[in-house]
Amino acid sequence: MKKVKIFVVCFWVLFLTLSAMLPILWAAEEYKVTAQDLEQYKKIVDDPRPYLKELTYKKILPPDVYAKLTFDVEEMKVQWAEVVGFRAPDEVGKIAPEIKPGTYSYKDKAKYPGLKELMIPLQYEEFFKPGGPPFVGCFPEIKVVPTRQYYLALPIAKATKENIGRTKLDDKGLIKEETYMAGVPFPKPEGKFKANQVIYNLLKRYIGHENQYFTATTRGFTRNLRIDQDMVNEACWIRFKGRVFMEPYGWYDERAKSVGEEFSFKFFYLSPRDMFGNVMTSMKYLDPDKYDQMLLYINALRRVRLMSATDIQDSIGGADVIYADSFIYSQKLSSTIFPYRCEVIAEREYLVPFAILDGSGYMSSKGMELHDYEWERRPMYVVKMTQLDKNFVYSYRILYIDKETFYPLLILNYDQKGRLYRSGLVISAYFPEMGMFNYTSDVMMYDHLDMHSSFSRTFVIPAPWVGRKDINMRGLVVKGK
């Protein structure tokens, strides 16, 4: 018993000594924003504060990192207009021109019939109304603002320009990976495979900077709007190919190049209790016929377990998404694994809540309505992806993609009976000084058959300190329970 006491005393001495030393040694190394930090700036409901005015990257990032990721705004505007060939404000205003900037209530539907023409049908019919069951995310009123030019960062523009015309598709419309280097592969989509080019622009988009750290809070709601899920998770993310912001540029390392790694992320839960300590890593490969690899640290088992990479169609733990819906849409185009026939079914402007600038948009606890989001006319591609494998969960998907930036806004997924099964709306934050949409966003996901919905707020920070050590087996064990 005496030795047990000695052991325990030694244990605590070590604990306290390290506790005293280590904050000094490592405090500055891994900067991040936790869910708790985010909550201080903006609560998940009933909080109209423009949190992005306070929670700025200038404050969060080390000065050298911030300086490296910010660029001259005017130059970005010019460069990006050259890349895509237009500025969004010049492309819109043709449909229902009588709808001017201002605030419109759902009660104005009869007064302004142009709204119906200008809005995406699902949003107009199902969500432009007062909040209430069965779904979260109704807009009882919308605030229309003038269309903005959204430009992407100079390194993206530069890489896109340098590689313009070099990226090729094969005769099935699949990308020849060896021809893609960096940037947006098809800044001016055209030709037989125009829809595929749009989808590749989406898949290759810079979802933030190449190494980043996420914090997300998600609430799930039953058809009665009762909260049945309340999750907090964090994530690390690394892009391996086409790196333009963070060193190393181009390929992340030799291994990424030789294996053909595209990106990898680690996703770990902080709550609820049953999920705390579950950690998942996913490695996405460039080869269109190669499945991702998924490893899971299972909290109850205290083990790393290889998971089925082919399990991409089942709902993730009662959420309103499947693995193939990650980041709203992340399924590779392939001729062997659930192949799609893609077509651009519309190319026009829509009135949409496209971007978050100051973060004042919020969800109210009454009716789980969305308020103060800014709606603007955006030129958009509407791409229909018809699934050619009848065994896939969806028969087709419809994606609404911004024409100026290739960032997705809305996805509608239909089951094999043609019923709308799941949909997702992503309102992403835009950081003008960086020319960047990352995954800092408010996301609404819907299961239209089970009548379940969820609201998720994510905050992302560029994080050069994220490395392979965070997304490999060590990363699983260290973050696992």
Binding site: F15, Q36, R273, L295, L306, S308, M473
Partner: protein
């Protein structure tokens, strides 16, 4: 002393209950500017038996309550502390105390062992400090180190002992594993290879700061309570075992070492394992007077004699090497089954010079000795998600099947090893799916012991109202063909149970 213990328990229940139901408790706090996560749950389970035999009750069998609290504090980005604590109380002892049947069958005598889990290592689950500099991870304290791949059978997973005193389901799956005092060091070198994606080395040292063995189901109603096995002895019942089980002396004996190499290569997870330590279960042999009645309880309530085994034993050395491989077999993906490929998990361990009790069959197992044999344990698991639209249009079925084979390499030619043949086979099958957006999860588990042709079935229905409230209705059913062999020992333990859980954080 009893008053003091009661007071401590009372305060602890009060503290945990207050934490559990206090609206002031959020899942994440900030302590000295660093995040502290606090979680917990409270569960109350009631089980009812079907049969009225000496070894069970056709009424309330158990009323287990668990209060669990856990916390994770990130002192820095690379240093964190995790601790968990649980209080388990089986209120069946209070609720049944007035019942003559309960008392006459001597279940009430097991109260000291099974009413309240009040040993320090039962109350303190985990308390560990993790330091993760660079490519290393160091973890010290009371912790769980889990090896192996199979979910149903425990082959390589031999470091931590198990608590199965209250049956195989026990109180909560996660807490049937008993954390022990360990030091662990992991190293994950940087890999820059196309075929080898990940590599890790894990070293575990158990200094035997406190020897905590498996907590197995005990013989005799007065010790084992409602789970005491029904050992068939004509005209008699097996009662409390007496004798001496030697335990390794703290610090001086029973040090354990484990080394494990883990690799993610060619799309497969592979581990090589080495372990030198002690078996968590003892080997025992009967010693004079072997089996005998002991006053004051000579006869059981049904008139049979109560026979007490007298035994001696020890915790023998366990030395093994092992291999695990996990790989998804993508070519077996079938569209008509939902396009998910099966994942195969394989485990094999070879233990050297394991100690067994060799008994003389002519003596009815009374004359015995300790003997040694190498021991091969291997198993394979296939985990497959399949779509069966006729039964569930939205969600897949998770099907997990396992086959376990244990071979006693040097099985004695004349003598027997109690409970084992030369080759021993068992299977495991688990099926589950979910309905109503993951709210309702039915599952069915079947464990089959091939040698004894005995079975254990667990049908279960879980309703997750939300992330706080969870309700479970289930049953445990045993059916064996050969009296006294395998799971037949629990044939009378069939029961249904209901559990309500509130989780916070």
């Amino acid at each position: 002393m009893k008053k003091k213990r009661f007071l401590i328990l009372f305060l602890m229940v009060g503290w945990i209950t207050t934490l559990t139901f206090s609206s002031a408790v959020a899942e994440e706090f900030s302590v000295l500017g660093r995040p502290l996560q606090l979680f917990g749950y409270a569960t109350q389970e009631m089980s009812f038996g079907f049969k009225d035999t000496y070894d069970t009750e056709n009424s309330l069998n158990s009323a287990l309550m668990n209060l669990f609290v856990e916390g994770d504090y990130a002192i820095t980005d690379k240093l964190k502390f995790y601790g968990s604590s649980m209080l388990t109380v089986d209120w069946a002892y209070q609720l049944n105390s007035h019942r003559d049947d309960w008392n006459e069958k001597l279940f009430s005598k097991s109260r000291n062992k099974l009413n309240v889990d009040d040993k320090y290592w039962m109350l303190l689950k985990e308390a560990r400090l993790t330091w993760t500099p660079g490519d290393f991870m160091f973890r010290a304290g009371k912790q769980i180190v889990s090896w192996g791949e199979l979910l149903g059978f425990r082959i390589m997973d031999q470091i931590n002992p198990l608590d199965q005193r209250r049956g195989f389901l026990d109180v909560e799956f996660e807490t049937t594993i008993i954390p022990i005092w360990l030091l662990r060091a992991d190293y994950y070198p940087k890999i820059n290879s196309s075929w080898l994606q990940d590599l890790g080395f894990e070293f575990v040292w158990n200094p035997n700061a406190d020897f905590i063995p498996n907590q197995d189901i005990m013989a005799g109603n007065a010790d084992g309570g409602i789970w005491a096995p029904n050992v068939p002895i004509p005209g008699a019942h097996m009662a409390t075992a007496y004798g001496r089980i030697d335990t390794p002396q703290r610090w001086k004996e029973g040090n354990e070492f484990g080394l494990r190499a883990k690799a993610n290569m060619l799309g497969a997870m592979t581990t090589l394992n080495f372990f030198y330590g002690r078996d968590n279960s003892p080997v025992t042999q009967l010693v004079p007077p072997f089996m005998s009645p002991v006053p004051p309880h000579i006869f059981a309530s049904d008139g049979d004699v109560l026979l007490h085994p007298f035994q001696e034993g020890h915790y023998p050395l366990l030395k093994f090497v092992g291999l695990t491989v996990a790989k998804e077999i993508i070519p077996l993906k079938a569209s008509f089954l939902g396009d998910v490929a099966p994942t195969v998990y394989f485990e094999a361990m070879y233990a050297f010079d394991s100690t067994f009790t060799f008994s003389n069959p002519l003596s009815g197992g009374v004359l015995s000795r300790f003997g040694k044999s190498d021991d091969l344990r291997t198993g394979i698991e296939v985990a497959w998600k399949v779509k069966i639209p006729a039964l569930n249009a939205r969600t897949y079925f998770n099907i997990t099947g396992e086959f376990f084979w244990r071979r006693i390499m040097d099985y004695p030619s004349f003598e027997e090893i109690a409970g084992y043949k030369k080759n021993n086979y068992q299977t495991f099958l688990s099926v589950n799916t979910s309905y109503f957006h993951n709210k309702l999860t039915p599952s069915f588990t079947w464990i089959h012991d091939i040698n004894s042709n005995s079975n254990y079935f667990i049908p279960k229905l879980v309703y997750d109202y939300d992330y706080h409230w969870h309700f479970t209705l289930g049953a445990q059913l045993f059916k064996g063909a050969k009296p006294g062999q395998g799971l037949q020992l629990f044939d009378n333990k069939n029961q249904i149970y209901f559990k309500v859980a509130y989780k916070w954080g």
